[in-house]
């Protein structure tokens, strides 16, 4: 790892200022992606701005909305009684990320800012129609993920929290990579105030909605309604799974998720 200046600001405002003042700064959340990247010298940042003390952790419920601070760990989401009772599918998704030690450090803000094509949270953000709040604006789920490791965030923009409207029902099914537990394909199906939503992660460059499935489920919310629907996307193909296999898995995982709540 190259050397850098380390900062631990005590507020979100100070964090944004430290990041702005740096020649080539980067935010540090759980470090589960950033530290391996720095260790392998895939990045060389002049300044690392640790968000640990910036007051961005915490989970709360306000009526029909669950709010999760950017620095909330996967473990805190998985074990939160508020999340477990309001959106059990979200608690289960967080509890299925990686391993216990990754969940003890990794955060929701770091996961969605990183926008790994195989990450789990993007399926929840998109499938549950969440809003990503930053130090500058509110970004709708549909506008947030823009490509492989690409998001709508501008340089230095800080995610402060994510708000999830509580759905009537939701379920997440994933076909996990056996070594890392990243999603080869993961599908979040939900009955929301905004209609039926089906969001897919792992399959393509970034998470996307399977609109053909949403339409079929609007008429008949059952796994059988998905028979014969093949979702078109720019599927990834790699050592873990071919594009054709991923296309097939989208159908299987969607049926599992829908079957759980139908």
């Amino acid at each position: 790892m190259y050397d850098f200046n380390y900062h631990r600001p005590a507020s979100a405002t100070d964090a944004a200022a430290a990041r702005k003042a740096a020649a080539d700064g980067v935010y540090l959340a759980g470090g589960m992606t950033l530290l391996p990247t720095l260790k392998q010298r895939l990045a060389r940042n002049s300044d690392v701005v640790d968000l640990a003390a910036a007051g961005l952790a915490g989970i709360g419920r306000d009526g029909g909305t669950i709010t999760i601070g950017a620095m909330s760990t996967h473990d805190s989401v998985a074990t939160s009684s508020e999340v477990q009772s309001a959106i059990p599918a979200l608690a289960a998704l967080a509890g299925g990320i990686g391993d216990p030690q990754v969940r003890n450090r990794g955060t929701i803000g770091g996961s969605i800012a990183n926008a790994d094509p195989a990450a789990d949270y993007p399926a929840a953000v998109l499938g549950l129609n969440a809003t990503v709040h930053t130090d500058r604006r509110d970004i709708k789920a549909g506008d947030f993920f823009t490509g492989m490791f690409e998001t709508a965030l501008d340089d230095g923009e800080l995610i402060t929290k994510v708000t999830f409207p509580v759905p009537a029902a939701a379920a997440y099914a994933k076909f996990a990579n056996l070594a890392s537990r990243y999603a080869i394909v993961g599908v979040m199906a939900a009955k929301t105030g905004d209609g039926i939503r089906v969001a897919v992660t792992g399959a393509a460059g970034n998470a996307f909605r399977a609109t053909a499935m949403e339409q079929a489920l609007a008429g008949d919310f059952s796994a059988a309604a998905l028979d014969g629907i093949s979702v078109d996307a720019d599927y990834n193909s790699d050592i873990h799974a071919s594009a054709e296999y991923r296309r097939h898995l989208v159908g299987v995982m969607a049926k599992r998720a829908v079957g759980e709540i139908a």
Binding site: M1, D3, L35, V48, A52, P100, Q101, R181
Partner: protein, 157 residues
């Protein structure tokens, strides 16, 4: 010169000025001489470097020493009692032949202590899925799972 940090390690207050890019694993091993945290893969996969930070198991190869400022760190060296009597988890690993070469053992034991602190009576399936991040090349895991469930029983009593 980097900032001074204060960390409680195995009950002792430690003040030091590690370089900003010093990993917690390096800090423990090379600056404090606590070599129980083993560096197996150095890529966040194997769990040999697991220590407890404020009671939660973390991979010390994937954390900066500076991120541990103000926390309470427990390494395998700090688990036994002051008189040297083994922690029930260590005792159970010994009694149940839960280790062979011992390389993965400090991480296994500390990961297991985190599990039992949350779940005092884990099922075999719960133990196995909890060990997702701890790799053992020797034992085939069977006796590790047995050790953890035996220790949980002692710790519940």
């Amino acid at each position: 010169m980097s900032e001074q940090i204060t960390v409680t390690v195995n009950g002792d207050t430690v003040s030091a000025r590690p370089a900003a890019n010093t990993l917690l694993s390096t800090f423990l091993r090379e600056e404090l001489g606590l070599t129980g945290a083993h560096v197996g893969c150095d890529t966040s996969q194997c769990g040999a470097c697991v220590v407890l930070v404020d009671g939660k198991s973390v991979k010390s190869c994937t954390m900066l020493a500076h991120q541990a400022a103000g926390t309470n760190v427990t390494t395998i060296e700090g688990l036994a009692g002051d008189g040297g009597e083994l922690h029930p988890m260590q005792e159970a690993f010994r009694d149940n032949h839960g280790l062979q070469c011992g390389f993965c053992t400090p991480g296994m034991v500390l990961s297991a202590v985190d599990l039992v602190s949350r779940n005092p009576d884990p099922s075999e399936g719960e133990v196995r899925s909890w060990l997702e991040g701890n790799i053992c090349r020797c034992t085939g895991y069977h006796n590790i799972v047995k050790s953890i469930r035996a220790a949980a029983k002692v710790m519940r009593a």
